[in-house]
């Protein structure tokens, strides 16, 4: 129970910081939709907390039962995006539901984690041992990869390189923790690296530009490199103590694009400085560590893998997003969990944390 409370408090703290930053980055923008941005985010957080309690009340073994259903639902939603999706910023990632839009790729990440957790925690009917230890290359690597490839391909086509890469990274990390033989893993990583040139051709022009700009932001300072340069300026100009809330010139005066979504970390760092950013990093680390601890405490293999997968998913997203803000990673459209504006991301993150809480609560039952 203690862990549940801790996770919720941490999540609420981070969300509160997020709402403050969103308020700061949008309050100067003119227009109704900007004025209410932070209010909507507040609403998402409240909804997210509701989902947290809901999920922490549902026994996670129920998810085991529903895994294939969830997988099918995710695939269906992703297909629907192609037919009914809303196009924004040149990408078709959203589904319109009544009065809000919804991003299926967010929930797909979680479902992918659930799927892999279930796949690798299946037990042999004969001796109740884990199948994963005996899995050959086909069942241990190719088959789960094939399952992952379907949503990944669909997401890549939206296009949403960030989410697709996220799923791949989480997949690899979970292969590692699930106990698949090391040589499969190593072979897979090497094969992946070898196929990079092939992947390069599959990328869209703007994605290639972003990768090139990641290597050297100054080749196109007003185009693809602009965001990274401005983001670094924003973070760097914060100094030790920051410019103060509502006083960050980079975000307030719109030099920093996407200052309330993907680049909210830069907005925050500019106004709160080095000390604030370190505190925020620490909060994120505490959440992830709590997830990993829960995994360590859980005897049930599915629960253990699921908890680990959720921690990995959150951790990798946080790391990639902050690294991207700092210019250490290419700009891919990945939100910062719990901070970036966006209902899908917030609610999915709270659902994931709710599952985590439930795993911690239920493990005692066994």
């Amino acid at each position: 129970m203690k862990a549940t409370a801790l996770i919720l408090v941490l999540a609420l703290l981070i969300s509160a910081i997020g709402v403050l930053s969103i308020y700061s980055s949008t309050y100067r923008k003119e227009g109704i939709q900007w004025e209410s941005t932070y209010q909507r985010q507040l609403l998402w957080v409240v909804l997210g907390v509701a989902f947290f309690f809901l999920m922490s009340g549902i026994n996670y073994r129920r998810i085991w039962d529903a895994t294939y259903l969830l997988y099918a639902a995710a695939a269906l939603l992703l297909l629907l995006v192609f037919i009914l999706g809303v196009v924004r910023l040149g990408a078709q990632r959203w589904l319109r539901l009544a009065w809000f839009t919804f991003q299926p790729s967010e929930i797909t990440k979680l479902i992918a984690v659930i799927f892999i957790a279930r796949y690798f925690s299946a037990k042999s009917v004969d001796d109740v041992s884990l199948k994963v230890n005996k899995m050959g290359v086909i069942r241990g690597l190719v088959l789960p990869l094939a399952f992952m490839a379907v949503p990944m391909a669909l997401i890549m086509e939206q296009p949403d390189l960030g989410s697709a890469m996220m799923i791949l990274l989480v997949f690899v990390a979970m292969l590692f923790v699930s106990g698949v033989r090391m040589r499969y893993l190593v072979t897979f990583v090497i094969l992946g690296l070898l196929s990079l040139p092939l992947l390069w051709h599959m990328l869209r022009d703007y994605q290639r530009d972003r990768l090139m700009v990641f290597l050297n932001p100054n080749i196109d300072p007003l185009g693809a490199g602009y965001t990274v340069i401005q983001s670094k300026i924003a973070i760097g100009s914060g100094g030790i103590f920051g410019k103060g809330w509502l006083s960050g010139t980079q975000s307030q005066l719109h030099f920093l694009p996407e200052s309330h979504t993907d680049f909210i970390f830069a907005t925050f760092a500019e106004e709160w400085g080095f000390l604030g950013s370190c505190a925020l990093l620490f909060l994120y680390y505490l959440v992830i560590r709590e997830g990993i601890r829960i995994a360590g405490r859980t005897a049930d293999n599915f629960g253990k893998l699921l908890a680990l997968g959720i921690s990995l998913m959150l951790g990798i997203q946080v790391i990639i997003n902050i690294a991207m803000n700092l210019g250490m990673a290419p700009v891919v459209g990945l939100p910062l969990p719990l901070m970036s504006y966006g209902g899908s991301s917030i609610i999915v993150t709270f659902i994931a944390l709710g599952i985590l809480a439930n795993i911690d609560r239920t493990r005692a039952v066994f």
Binding site: K232, I235, S237, I240, F255, C278, L308, I319, A323, M328
Partner: protein, 570 residues
């Protein structure tokens, strides 16, 4: 096992991110803060006015007038073309011209762009009235230097120009910036620090599209201080007119204090040519003119003084006791030093030092010079302030040169001969002086033995600073020496003297002419003197470059003195 590894990896990556944050925010924070300020802060300058330059009576020699520039503050929503065509209509110039100018000068949105400079007041008013139809147009008053008297005293004033690299490196720490307008030469340079205005202006915050957000701060521009010179414009005018087209210079100084009353040079230049740099050809002509009109010959050029130097030799001889008032020499028209014949310009017969000065007799001074010896002449020349800058408060003063036996030994590996002494005694040879040095040396006989430091700055910002400017030292001469030389100088400017044309002017003048032989062309003409004889109030030094004999110089002096008498200055 693998779970713990995952935990460690996360911890490691978070620590790396924290390190990178430390690097960007703390270590490079300052640089990024500057970049961020550069993004959103724009400075809209407002100019102050440079201080005026006044003469001793308060007449304005150089001041500033407001010229009007048309500036455009481009905003993203404005239609620049419409505005430009509106402005073009009012100004009566082609729209294309304005467009090109705008394109050339444009830097960023919300930064003012000067599209037309120096427009007439009427048009400025017309534009101001049309302000509502022409968004973003700003009429910026822009002070420019004006010289009501044109070329008068140009060398003393100097001119204005954009700061050069050399001055910038020197003055950066004093707040000078690139593209600052600073003085070049004359008091404009020497007292730039007082005259200089301080730029003020608005610093404004703009957003990513360059739209104005708010004003962050305002600093009002500071005007420069007025400075008052010791110059008397009436005398300056007389001096320049007297020089006419003759290359040369005139220095008029007050002997008691060292105040420069007039400092005229010819050829002149018009400092206004540097203000409105429309005609680069004109400036090029100035810089390439073989007569170097930009040089202040009175302080920056050195010439052999000729017979004017005899006042120094006479003083040295009288002081050292080699001659006295009764010592006479018989001038037969020439003088032999060893085998070499040194000529006098006439046959003067028997005369003492007073007569020798009066007639500028070379033979007397050859003999006297040999009696005194080169070392003593050298030492006395130094006492009279030669061979070093006079210390006048103007830049680029030359120090001149006085030869000595030691110098010849060290630099020419030769012994000093008696012939050298004879040459030195009549102010020829390697001796070089500037007109202001001669005026200063002459002042010693006008103020009873004081070597003054000439100066031109009388007041700053309405406060009299001449007390701080006055510096003099005593040239320890006996009263008798001064008296005897003065007698000689008085005789020069009376009937029978070499400057006899200066007699009968209504004021008693004393002085000495000089004719300096030069290798090529006509000799330089000198006249240095003071007046009135009894109670000297002015020292005057006229120098004519290749102007013929000293007599012509005294004629120039005569014109100036006549003018001064006529205007009641004396």
């Amino acid at each position: 096992m693998r779970i713990r590894i995952v935990n460690f990896i996360f911890l490691g990556v978070f620590l790396i991110i924290a390190m990178v944050l430390l690097g960007t925010e703390v270590i490079h924070g300052k640089r990024f803060r500057q970049l961020s300020n550069k993004n959103c802060i724009r400075l809209v300058p407002q100019l102050g006015t440079r201080g005026r330059i006044l003469d001793r009576e308060g007449n304005v020699i150089a001041d500033s007038y407001l010229s009007y520039d048309v500036m455009l503050l481009p905003q993203p929503d404005d239609n620049v073309d419409d505005v430009l065509s509106g402005v073009a209509k009012v100004l009566g110039i082609k729209q294309q011209e304005l467009k090109e100018r705008f394109k050339k000068e444009f830097i960023a949105l919300s930064l003012p762009v000067t599209i037309a400079g120096n427009i007439p007041v009427k048009k400025a008013v017309a534009l101001e009235e049309k302000k509502m139809d022409l968004p973003g147009v700003v009429i910026q008053p822009h002070p420019l230097r004006r010289y009501p008297y044109g070329e008068l005293a140009c060398h003393l004033l100097g001119y204005l120009g954009e700061i050069d690299r050399w001055r910038l490196t020197k003055l950066e720490d004093y707040g000078y910036k690139t593209r600052d307008i600073v003085g070049f030469g004359g008091v404009e340079e020497r007292y730039d620090y007082y005259l200089r205005q301080e730029e003020g202006g608005f610093s404004t915050q703009v957003d990513h599209r360059g739209r104005f957000v708010r004003t962050l701060g305002y600093r009002s521009p500071q005007n420069g201080k007025d400075i008052q010179l010791t110059l008397d414009l009436r005398v300056q005018k007389l001096a320049e007119e007297a020089l006419g087209r003759q290359v040369g210079s005139v220095v008029v100084m007050e002997p008691a204090s060292g105040e420069i009353i007039a400092m005229a040079n010819n050829p002149v230049f018009n400092p206004a040519a540097f203000v409105d740099r429309k005609s680069d050809a004109g400036l090029k002509r100035l810089f390439n003119d073989p007569k170097s009109p930009l040089i202040n010959r009175a302080i920056s050029s050195t010439y052999p003084p000729g017979s004017v130097f005899k006042i120094v030799v006479a003083s040295a001889a009288l002081e050292t006791g080699k001659i006295n008032i009764n010592t006479t020499t018989d001038c037969t028209g020439s003088f032999y030093v060893g085998q070499q014949r040194f000529a006098c310009w006439n046959t003067h017969g028997t005369q003492n030092v007073v007569g020798a000065l009066m007639h500028s007799c070379n033979v007397f001074f050859y003999r006297t010079g040999l009696l005194v010896g080169p070392q003593a002449i050298y030492e006395y020349a130094l006492r009279f302030g030669l061979s070093r800058p006079s210390g006048i408060d103007l830049p680029y003063e030359a120090s001149g040169f006085v030869p000595s036996p030691l110098w010849k030994r060290v630099y020419h590996f030769r012994a000093w001969f008696n012939g050298d002494t004879a040459n030195l005694a009549i102010g020829q040879g390697d001796l070089l002086v500037s007109p202001v040095q001669i005026a200063r040396a002459m002042a010693v006989f006008a103020n009873n033995g004081f070597l003054v430091t000439p100066y031109v700055l009388k007041g700053v910002g309405g406060k009299d600073v001449s007390l701080y400017q006055r510096k003099f030292s005593r040239v320890s001469l006996k009263d008798s020496t001064i008296d005897i030389v003065r007698q000689g100088l008085r005789k020069v400017a009376s009937e029978g003297g070499t400057a006899s044309n200066l007699s009968g002017l209504g004021v008693e003048v004393a002085g000495k002419t000089g004719t300096a032989q030069v290798g090529r062309g006509l000799p330089h003409g000198w006249f240095a003197g003071f007046l009135p004889y009894k109670n000297p109030r002015f020292v005057i030094c006229v120098f004519l470059e290749h102007g013929g004999a000293g007599y012509y110089a005294s004629t120039t002096a005569k014109r100036i003195i006549e003018g001064m008498v006529k205007e009641g200055i004396i």
